[in-house]
Amino acid sequence: AQSVAQPEDQVNVAEGNPLTVKCTYSVSGNPYLFWYVQYPNRGLQFLLKYITGDNLVKGSYGFEAEFNKSQTSFHLKKPSALVSDSALYFCAVPFLYNFNKFYFGSGTKLNVKP
């Protein structure tokens, strides 16, 4: 069965410092992995996805994610955090045999302090 796990409910980082939001996955077959961001009182917004190819995927707002097959991880990263990056982040994986449906992780709240 397809699943993702986000081991941290919350991540705190100072503005200007690098940030990492963790995601591990368990999938059958080739992994297709996604990151979304949710700002307060808003719906989720797509950030980036890994389908195949380079292990480092670049996305919106300066975010990138590193796919690591040996560690079954897909961590979201940004070299220099902004206060405006404070939000809820979700990783997601498609259902097996139905790529239009997704399982979402439980979410990680990122707090960037000035």
Binding site: G43, L44, I51, F99, N100, F102, F104, S106
Partner: protein, 114 residues
């Protein structure tokens, strides 16, 4: 601006009442989805529709029904609301095609069942 419109934005409802949450998209996406978001549980898929005229059950379909009479609209109905259905409901759409298109989300309906 193209996107997904959900209505109402919030609602307080007495238990046992019938309620329909509306969702309309203007992106001509084939696939549409309903999720509920609960603290600590992330997003859980309630129902989905790969194309107009078809619907399918997600992870938590009990107590909910959907219809997809046309491409743009995907209403979610609670036939007899119960307090456990208190949640934030998100509608989403994607350009179905089997190549892992990202989902686009509305801003949600906050529903409280008393």
């Amino acid at each position: 601006i193209a996107g997904i419109t959900q209505a109402p934005t919030s609602q307080i409802l007495a238990a046992g009442r019938r309620m329909t949450l509306r969702c309309t998209q203007d992106m001509r996406h084939n696939a549409m989805y309903w999720y509920r978001q609960d603290l600590g549980l992330g997003l859980r898929l309630i129902h989905y529709s790969n194309t107009a005229g078809t619907t399918g059950k997600g992870e938590v379909p009990d107590g909910y029904s959907v219809s997809r009479a046309n491409t743009d609209d995907f209403p979610l109905t609670l036939a007899s609301a119960v307090p456990s259905q208190t949640s934030v409901y998100f509608c989403a759409s994607s350009a179905a095609g089997g190549d892992n298109q990202p989902q686009h989300f509305g801003d949600g309906t906050r529903l409280s069942i008393l």
